[in-house]
Every structure is written in C-alpha cells, then in structure tokens.
C-alpha cells in the first residue's frame, strides 16, 4: 500500500481532546460531521486546509488521553490517509489499527509542514519527496499488520467471528 500526500505538522502530546473535542463527540455517531471539527482546538482551519490523502505529522505521544475511537474515525473521515509521529499513545494506537488508519512511527523532525511524502507501509519506508530523503520507520508487528490489511477489526471479526491469527 503506497500513500502520497502533503504534511500537516503538529507538536508533541497531541491528545484526543484536541483531535476531537468531547463537546462534539458525545453528540453524534455521524463521523463525517465530527470530521469537520478534527484538530480544531489546535488549528481552527485544519479541516478546510486538508486535501484528500494528506498526512498528519506530529512529535511524541500522539493520541494521548481518552479512549475515544471517534479520534481515529474523525481523522479517517477528514480523508487523512495516515498519521506519522515519533511515538503514539497506546490506546490510540490500538484504535487506529482496529479502525484501519495506518500509523507510522519515525523521526518526524525530518518532515516540515507542507512537505510532500510518499509512504510504503509494507516496506516501512517514508520518502520525503520535498527534501529528497528516505526516513526509516519502526515496522508494525504481524498481528497489527494483519488486522490493518484486512481493513480493521470489524472486517476481521466478520470474517472469522473471533480472533484468528493462525
């Protein structure tokens, strides 16, 4: 799976309240509606700036805070194709795998806002086309790659009815 798009840059400790505020998430299960508010407490114009296929690029501990799955779902529904960060908070990490949002752990200091990136998830390589450098990534464990490649945990359960990692 190869992804191409532009970088939108954020700092460390972007928490789930910033990704999608509690004041929106309790109101609805309409993820397209929630997507309009994604990251708005950090950047009010974020949703309008994003083009389909773009990336969120952040520092350490992205997705810390609550277990709200609305966070990855709002990102997916804003047409962001992957999140790149130096590290991710654990529950958010699981939620992304389960909902089918690709995550890339790498040195994001090598990416600036607006850089064009090409990501090969299977090979685990991020290519910064603007700067013409390859950035190595931490590969995903096999279990997670399997769930992700099946399109998320819902698809996995639809297929097997339970966990199946044989």
């Amino acid at each position: 799976m190869s992804l191409r798009g532009y970088s939108h840059k954020f700092g460390d400790d972007v928490n789930t309240d910033y990704i999608i505020s509690g004041r929106h998430k309790f109101k609805t299960l309409d993820m397209k509606e929630l997507a309009k508010h994604v990251m708005e407490d950090l950047d009010p114009d974020f949703y309008s700036k994003v083009a389909s296929g773009d990336f969120i690029v952040a520092g350490r501990n992205f997705g810390c805070g609550s277990s709200r799955e609305q966070a990855p779902l709002a990102i997916i529904n804003a047409d962001i194709s992957a999140v790149l960060a130096k590290s991710f908070a654990r529950i958010f990490y699981r939620n992304c795998i389960n909902t089918g949002l690709p995550l890339v752990e790498c040195n994001t200091d090598l990416i600036d806002a607006g850089d064009e990136l090409d990501i090969d998830l299977e090979a685990g390589v991020v290519r910064n086309l603007t700067k013409n450098i390859d950035i190595p990534t931490t590969p995903l464990p096999a279990v997670m790659l399997k769930i992700l490649s099946e399109g998320g945990l819902v698809e996995h359960f639809r297929k097997y009815g339970t966990f199946n990692f044989d």
Binding site: K27, C64, I91, N95, A142, F157
Partner: protein, 429 residues
C-alpha cells in the same frame, strides 16, 4: 491459546502484568509477547458504548459471550443534556435489555467507581473497559486497561482480546505522606517527574511503605492516573486491606498475584515522600506540576470535587472537613459530584452533603459531572478552574479558552474558600 509472537525470554521471574497475562492466556508470556487472553469483565460507558454496539452489529454478532461479565454505564453525559445524547443512551438501554447485561443508568455513578464497588472486578482479574481510566482497578491488583469501541465490541463477542504484554516501570515510594498531603499529590508528583509519556506502553507497579499506608480508596486515585504517565495499567500488590475490601464488595473468589522477587523491570525509580508538599498540575498538561507554594494566589472562579479520581467518600470527607462552617468565596462556584449513588448516600448519612450545600456548593448527579465538558459546569472564556479530576487538557471541560488546575480534594476545598489557589494545610489543624 498460543503465543502470537515470542520474544527471547530471560528465564527470570515475572512482573504482576506478565503473570496475569500468562494466566489468562494460558501461555508462559513475557514482556513484548503478543497473546490473546480471556477477559474476566468487560465495561463500556456512554461515550464509547454506542460505537461499540454499532461495531458489534457490523461484526454480524447476535449474542455477547457472557452477559454476567459485561456492564454498560451511563455516566459521562448523565442525565442527558441533549436529544442526540438521549438517542445514544436509548441504544445502550435497548442493547443491555436484549443481551441481559448490567446497565447502570443515570445517577448510579462513574463507571470506574461502580466496577469495583459493585464487585465486578476482583484481584487477579483481566478487565477491559472502553474508557482510558479503566487502569483504576490496578489498585486492587487487577490487570485492567482502557480500549476503544471496536476492541470493546470484539471483547463483547469473544470474551477475549489481544494484548502486547507490557514491560513494567516500578515506582518504589518510601516515607510517610505528611498531614494535608494525599495520594493525589503523590501521583501528580510522580507524573510531573516522569512526564506524560514516561511510562508509555508500560505497566506501572506502585509499591513501597507510602503505598502500603494508603487506604484502598486513596490507592484508586493513584492507579486511576497511571494513564496520565502513558501507562497501560497501574498495578499494586494485594495486601490484607485489599483482600478485606474486595471480599466486602464481591462474592467472587479471587487469587491475588504478586511479582516475583527476580522479576525483570524496564525501569525502577525510588522516591521518598516524607517532605512532599501538596501538588498542583497547571494548564494544559497533567505533567505540568508544581508544589502548591509556586501557584498560591492564582485566582479561581470554579472548583470541582468529584470524578473517578477523587469522588469517593474519603475524598468528600476531607473536603467537607475543610468546608464545614465556612462559605465558598463570593464570585466562586463549587460543584460537587459524588462518584456513585452509594457514595452519595453515605455522604448524606454522614452529613457531608449538608456541609457542602451550606457552604454554597452545587451538588450534581453522581457520575462524571463537569469533568469532560458535556454539561454540569462548562467554564466561560478565560476562567480558571481547580478540579480534583485527572485531566486538564485545553478544552477538556468544554471550553478551550478556560484554564484547568488539578489538585487534591483538600486543595480544591481550601481554594474555593479563599478564591485563589491555597495550601490546604492552612485549614488543617
């Protein structure tokens, strides 16, 4: 059950996390292994259950694995402030009655208070909850951790979940907490020290004489905030106090799990809290912690006492002892949200609610109260709030132009009396 991926073992002893995940998966698992393990209890709240119910349907399931091991709690927006929320609550009630699972409706309390209080969780258990503060029950020696709605749905259907066995960060806490300094101050101090991602992907184990000296209620406050240092779970050993407490709450048999003396830890840090001051986390991160002396005098407009961190009877007693016979400062609001119906009843019996109401507090429905910004006390622009909750992120209480300080019930009570952040020891003789 087999190990999904296996790291080279050290052949040495095991941590509490490794032992519980080994027991529940039926394999000899060590840190960084990935296992599929059996769940003892599964919980969802009203912010996460509706999506889980949707995922349950999308997964084409019809029945939960065991209704006696599942609860849903309506606590986050409770009672419902909006029609949209009411519809989601309705879905939860429908699902619960169709499946025969436990449903705790409005006024019953915060999920993390209810799970141990109602005896659903005992020592040695493996528990998931679709709420990040599910780590709370580590205080009674349960491996309990927060997950999202799709994981919750998978748990509802299969009674299982995959886990990466975490490495463990051991906190040895020596000394004795001075008067006026509580377990909330202790955990804020530890978070400030190791930072918000200091224990990411890890289990925390809290041990030592200062932990042993705490009541079970005070221990819950510490494990509750393990997630604020990034940890997956905040484990403690079970001692006589734990056994007695768990036996009182639950009829279920249980087997506490202890760490081996030669267990392998990723990190160990040792502290002495004998000279610890009350601590305050400043806006907008939980690890932005100072001793109260550095923030004394900062004006506040609202105080909150409650939440899954500090809404238990012991917390209400501490706050009431400071508020008794005194009045909340004019221009300041105090909101009190008992953690559960049982806590509220006990507070009524002890006269604590009378003290709160007389002092000028607004007492609200047991539940999350204003913690997560859906209702019950959203601050206005530029206001400062001092709260006993566990998060002070920008926008957390429903307004991203407000400022949230986190502290112990004693510090919040003292601060609403003076109208600015105050060292509670001024009111404790």
């Amino acid at each position: 059950m087999k190990i999904i991926s296996k790291e080279e073992g050290t052949g040495l002893g095991k941590t509490i996390a490794e032992k519980i995940l080994s027991l529940k998966s039926g394999v000899d698992a060590k840190a960084n292994d990935i296992v599929v393990a059996d769940l003892d209890f599964v919980m969802g709240q009203d912010g996460t259950s509706p999506l889980a119910i949707q995922a349950f349907q999308e997964m084409e399931a019809t029945k939960v694995f065991d209704p006696a091991k599942i609860a849903m709690v309506i606590d986050h927006s409770s009672p419902s402030p909006l029609q949209g929320v009411s519809e989601l609550h309705y879905q939860m009630r429908q699902f619960a009655s169709q499946q025969g699972i436990f449903l705790y409706d409005i006024g019953e309390g915060v999920c993390h208070q209810l799970m141990p209080e109602k005896g659903h969780v005992v020592s040695g258990d493996l528990v998931i909850g679709a709420d990040s503060h599910t780590c709370t029950y580590g205080a009674i020696n349960a491996f309990s951790t927060g997950v999202g709605s799709t994981d919750l749905a998978a748990g509802l259907i299969s009674g299982k979940l995959w886990f990466k066995v975490p490495e463990t960060f051991k906190f040895i806490v020596n000394g004795t907490l001075p008067p006026g300094v509580y377990s909330k101050d202790l955990i804020l101090y530890l978070i400030g020290d190791v930072t918000a991602d200091g224990a990411t992907y890890m289990a925390a184990e809290y041990v030592g004489p200062a932990i042993d000296a705490l009541s079970i209620e005070a221990r819950f406050t510490i494990s509750n905030m393990a997630i604020e240092m990034g940890a997956k779970v905040g484990l403690m050993e079970a001692d006589d106090k734990t056994r007695e407490w768990v036996e009182n709450q639950s009829g279920r048999p249980f087997a506490p799990v202890t760490a081996d003396s030669d267990a392998v830890y990723a990190r160990i840090k040792e502290y002495d809290v004998s000279n610890l001051e009350p601590q305050v986390a400043k806006p907008h991160t939980v690890d932005n912690v100072s001793p109260v002396s550095e923030v004394t005098g900062i004006p506040i407009q609202q105080g909150v006492i409650g939440t899954c961190t500090n809404g238990r009877i012991e917390d209400l007693r501490i706050a009431a002892s400071i508020l008794k016979g005194r009045k909340v400062c004019p221009g300041v609001r105090l909101i009190v949200a008992p953690a559960s119906r049982q806590v509220m009843l006990q507070a009524i019996r002890e006269g604590l609610l009378e003290t709160f109401v007389e002092s000028g507090a607004a007492v609200v429905t047991p539940g999350c109260g204003p913690c997560v910004g859906t209702h019950n006390g959203v601050p206005s622009d530029g206001e400062n709030v001092i709260s006993t909750a566990n998060r002070n992120f920008k926008g957390r209480m429903g307004n991203n132009k407000a400022f949230i300080y986190l502290a112990s019930p004693a510090t919040v009570a003292a601060s609403v009396l003076t109208g600015s952040i105050t060292d509670p020891r001024e009111f404790i003789k």
